[in-house]
Point group: C2
Chain length 442, copies 2
């Protein structure tokens, strides 16, 4: 195997695998550090995952929540970006094997994030729609719109419902926000687009394994989220799990069945580890055990940050929540510690500054548990919704993307419209209407 | 085969196949006519084709130049849109066979437009990139960006050039505008994104079979376009044709060879006719022979408009140019004539009101031949560029899309940036870097 073509410099090389919130923040924070930074990602852009559900429900353009890495790093002289996939790590020789060749590292940072967890159910994995990448969001959008195009040809009630009904599994922020967004489409958009269909027939089911939504948020937030969803006509199933799904029938753990051709799986994530890390350091959920400096147990020059890292502390016995904030903060902190390490200075332990969490349910309705200077501030409804929008808006990278998101939101708010109702790609392959019709003929 | 599920009304049914400029205009113009309109398209959106090249060169978001049909027709009560592909027409029984079932028509309008013409060269068709659909534009964008990502790993000069050089075939507006846009990327964007590559090595070839560019425009326009392109460093080959292309070597008709992994084919279009129309009515280039009322020769209730229609007149012995303007005007005119027909009034002959044509070469540089109240007005340079932008901007459908295009243009103009440098889709499949590297090792 050849070596990837990256100039050798006098500086130690930091290889970062993954440009999510953690990896991106680390790479940026190393701008003036005495290191060469190599950032590897499978995509040539960073994805702002918290807004994927809005792309999936036609509210935002695909291109407004993804941002090219090369544009982020245009001015950063010590950074080399490489579009590549990592195959394995050889820790003895300090080599990363990638699709573009071998890459030597002095310090390796694993920031590969998390992937959807289907708990080993292969059939589910094949037929459910996840929501972790921009391609997933496009698939969701294409599927939802194609469903209604197909539904126009159907007489049979069950077949019709299979196309019009949606099952969302997972009552975390993604599931809750998606259910809310679908209910908005049902109220304001679809009845205008598909006048021949009766949208009273469109059911949106949200299935949550625990006894409350938005686990980890306050009881107030969780209760209000449930109230809002019910007010918007979402059928919330608490304390229920999906036993199986074959692409048509959803069987719940109590034996009840739901019919839907579209099941969105937002019921958990699992770390995306890498070949070559010793097994002892891989904890439950595929996360890597790190110390308070984000150093992976058993190595001196390998670190892990973000969702893939499990930093077990008294306050966080399961590691930090798999969200943007801990990832960003760990990225920032590790940048400082890498410099300390090189300069033989003592390292600083990571302390998570929990700023709280939020979820939006729909127009004017959100819930927020905020922590400001260690005092808690909880709010629900319009104020929470404004805060949610503001925080998300300023977090989107790049002035232009931020502006596009803002324009879309203002436009949607004033017009009750979600404009990106586009089926892009090989849409006829997505439309085996014949098959559906033939079933109904029988 | 079942019947497509569309309500029967007391009004005669007009089935329009294709929602390009012609079909869309016709459908909209029939809003208050005493007919039921069924619009069929393979996509659920209208594509603003003149700006595809800007999506292909990262200047515009994909979603800003496509517009959902259902949004266009939200308020139009007599219109039914169906996402379907037409398989054939049974003219005796007045039936259209589609992927969603059979559809009876009283009046049929064929507005299927044109597709890329490879003149029967199957190998070319397999390896060249066309630029007729939004998916083509996305493919072009993905290919260009992936090329440079791959180039970063290459030492061998020929291999490097095969990835960095571009061959555009066809000196019409698409070819000229694309060559200009690529040269802008070369000047302002790529050197910042790929600092390790030497962009003096990036060649852009534009191959034109005739002795001048922009056939159909004035000599002034054509000469200036050539001047501008040469000023921007595009290598223009006049009086040259491509003999063959295998995905790597372009062989010209004089035996000269160019090496490039990317050839964009904009060298001609051919009508997309439909199974079931009698052969006698299909003219050269697969266009359908129509009379001055756009009625297809040999039928009483079948019409053709836009690129697919060849209305042979003294002024236009080859039919009208295959552009947006004749299509839109024919759509508008046919709407009136269909009403006349139903009300037994005399039909009006179509007269093309040629408003001129334009092409932009790059920042501040365009050529325009305008016809205003039958006087000609020719201009090149900055004024032409402003006119080009204005005309295209007001032609984009929908306030929101227009606004998005405007924001992108203003942003690009001020920042010299083209922000959508995104490889969306299965990009790793687009990146068989290994293969390239192995070649260079030998």
């Amino acid at each position: 195997m050849v070596h990837a073509k990256i100039p050798e410099t006098e500086y130690p090389r930091v290889v970062i695998i993954g440009g999510g919130f953690a990896g991106l923040e680390l790479a940026k924070s190393l701008e003036n550090a005495p290191v060469q930074v190599v950032l590897i990602d499978k995509k040539n852009f960073h994805t702002f995952q918290p807004l994927l559900y809005q792309v999936g429900t036609a509210g935002l353009e695909t291109d407004s929540i993804i941002y090219p890495f090369r544009k982020v790093f245009e001015e950063q002289k010590n950074l080399y970006f490489r579009l590549a996939e990592v195959q394995q790590i050889k820790t003895e020789t300090q080599i990363v094997e990638t699709t573009i060749g071998l890459l030597h590292y002095n310090y390796l940072v694993i920031a590969t994030g998390a992937k959807t967890n289907y708990y080993g159910d292969e059939q589910l994995e094949k037929v459910a729609i996840p929501l972790k990448s921009i391609e997933d969001a496009i698939e969701l959008r294409n599927t939802v719109l194609s469903n209604f195009e197909k539904a126009l040809q159907i007489d049979d009630d069950e077949q019709l419902n299979s196309l019009m009904d949606y099952v969302i599994v997972g009552g975390g922020p993604t599931g809750v926000e998606l259910a809310g967004a679908l209910s908005e489409l049902r109220s304001h958009i679809f009845p205008k687009d598909y006048k021949e269909l009766d949208f009273k027939q469109m059911d949106i089911h949200l299935i949550q394994s625990g006894d409350h939504l938005l686990k980890g948020m306050s009881e107030e937030a969780s209760k209000k989220a449930l109230d809002y969803l019910q007010k918007f006509g979402v059928q919330v199933w608490l304390d229920r799990k999906v036993k199986s799904y074959d692409g048509y029938t959803v069987t719940l753990d109590n034996g009840e069945k739901l019919i839907s051709r579209t099941l969105i799986w937002a019921a958990g994530v699992i770390g995306s580890p890498i070949e070559g890390i010793r097994k002892e350091s891989i904890l439950r959920g595929n996360r890597l055990q790190v110390d308070t400096h984000n150093k992976v147990a058993g190595y001196n020059n390998i670190f892990a940050i973000g969702d893939i890292a499990a930093m077990i502390t008294d306050t966080y016995p399961q590691g930090h929540p798999m969200m943007a904030q801990p990832a960003i903060q760990q990225g920032k902190q590790l940048a400082k510690n890498l410099v300390n390490l090189i300069q033989n200075k003592p390292l600083q332990s990571f302390e998570y500054d929990d700023k709280g969490s939020m979820a939006t349910i729909g127009r004017n309705h959100a819930v927020a548990d905020l922590k400001i200077f260690s005092s808690e501030f909880r709010t629900q409804g319009f104020i929470a919704w404004i805060i949610w929008m503001f925080i998300h808006l300023i977090s989107v990278i790049g002035f232009r993307n931020r502006f596009l998101v803002l324009v879309n939101w203002v436009w949607s708010y004033l017009s009750y419209d979600k404009s990106n109702r586009l089926i892009v790609g090989k849409q006829l392959e997505n439309l085996p209407v014949e098959a559906v019709i033939q079933k109904t003929e029988v």
